[in-house]
Symmetry: C2
């Protein structure tokens, strides 16, 4: 997905939100915003938003001196999600359509996103998403691909959300490779966060190599690109991965909640909608 | 009022909103945002937001080539307000407290603001504001000052809103000087807009000399500054004038609706609250 003009004010809001978690020093925060301002003319609208996100969050770290501002929030999100894990497992087991319930749970977990200016309550969101209609629902194609594949490449999005991903991975009953970010950026899931979520018990974990808050292939490492290129069934969670991969030419299923109206508009749905969308499938 | 860090993303949103009214050319709009970005490090947090607003809207005009993007919207707002004028006059006449009803009407008119990202419906807002409690209500002091003064300096805010100001001016039954902006900026009231609203029938109209979307004294002309300095009863409408005058040392009554949470926070009220606040009174 390209950068829309409306992403630009949001870049500043995001920098400020992350910066404030790192420091209360107003001079540093102003310097951070000034730096994003200076950077703006180098950001082409043809680039994807996570490419810019990467540069922004690098500045947050460089100027505030805090490498991982969301570290504690990520840890707490994962703990909160882990506390829900047993009840959610039961919900899947009791369900008439276990796979669909697990997909809904994985999408509900996508509400744990500190990059978007939106408060969230995981339990309330779970209850809602378990009942909401999908705005795009390529479920039959998803099941077909799942039947045929011998390996799923599952690209994670946020810390905490990974616990819900784990439930879907366990339900799919197929070999999965779980992909995390290389370095901390916003509350995106890293290797450490995936371990805390217990992903290692259900799938090997690899890093995409990126420090962008989304899968921007140009910023990924050779190992990931090789695995990705050879995959015939990619699950991409969340907005940042959608932004990076929406124009790709291979089969990808996007599981996400449209939390930002610009992305909702790009997909052709409404803000708040939930999506199971396959491309090239 | 100083500039808060949260004003910075809003500067970009405002530039984009105004720019889009002027042009659909995405390259020009990107150039506009790039220019605001370049300007950012020259904007001290000690300056007031309308000082920056002035520079932003100058860039909107310079880059899009449209001097007055809100011209047609302003004309239409004033027409809409004029259509309501007879019914509102009757409402004041029938009221037990004519002055208070006229104040409420003048504040409700403050909803006509294209600088704030908020849709509005004048009639619905009028109905609401006529019943809402004030968050700050210096009405007794206002009446005292009104009794004692022989001339009111009334600083207008937006086009259209001026029609409602006219009702308050007519109700106060004291000589009034009505102040407008020198040049078009957002939908702020200019001489031409005040004429369309019929202000000339009830008060002489002077320009503050500013092209800022608020009364920033450093940008005002000598004539206005002289009148202002000698005034013992200033009525300041709206957020932009509050931002410019909130730290002044002479008696001013602010009549406004807090449409932005940063300003609401500066005043110590909630977003959406209505205010009749006297300073140095």
């Amino acid at each position: 997905m390209r950068t829309y003009l409306d992403c630009i004010p949001c870049f500043f809001s995001q920098a400020l939100r992350a910066g404030r978690i790192a420091t209360g020093n107003e001079k540093k925060l102003k310097k951070l915003l000034d730096e994003i301002g200076r950077m703006l003319s180098d950001i082409p609208l043809e680039s994807s938003p996570p490419e810019t996100g990467m540069r922004i969050y690098e500045q947050v770290s460089a100027i505030t001196g805090v490498f991982d501002p969301y570290k504690e929030l990520k840890r707490a999100s994962t703990e909160e999600a882990l506390a829900l894990y047993p009840a959610l497992k039961k919900k899947v087991e009791k369900s008439n359509d276990k796979l669909l319930t697990a997909i809904r749970i994985a999408i509900a977990g996508n509400v744990i996103d500190f990059g978007v200016n939106r408060n969230f309550n995981i339990e309330a969101e779970l209850a809602k998403v378990l009942k909401t209609d999908f705005a795009i629902f390529d479920y039959d194609k998803f099941k077909d691909h799942l039947d045929k594949t011998d390996e799923i490449l599952y690209i994670g999005d946020n810390a905490g959300e990974s616990v819900f991903d784990r439930i879907l991975i366990e339900t799919m009953k197929k070999p999965v490779i779980y992909v995390v970010r290389e370095t901390p950026v916003i509350n995106d899931v890293t290797y450490e966060d995936a371990l805390q979520a217990g992903i290692d018990k259900v799938a090997p974990i690899i890093s995409s190599g990126t420090s962008a808050p989304g899968t921007v292939l140009g910023t990924c490492n050779a190992e990931f690109k090789e695995v990705y290129k050879n995959s015939n069934f990619v699950i991409s969670k969340g907005q940042g991965n959608y932004e990076g991969l929406s124009d790709e030419n291979q089969p990808i299923f996007f599981l996400l909640m449209a939390k930002c109206w610009v992305i909702a508009n790009d997909i052709g749905v409404n803000e708040g909608d939930i999506i199971l969308k396959g491309i090239n499938v």
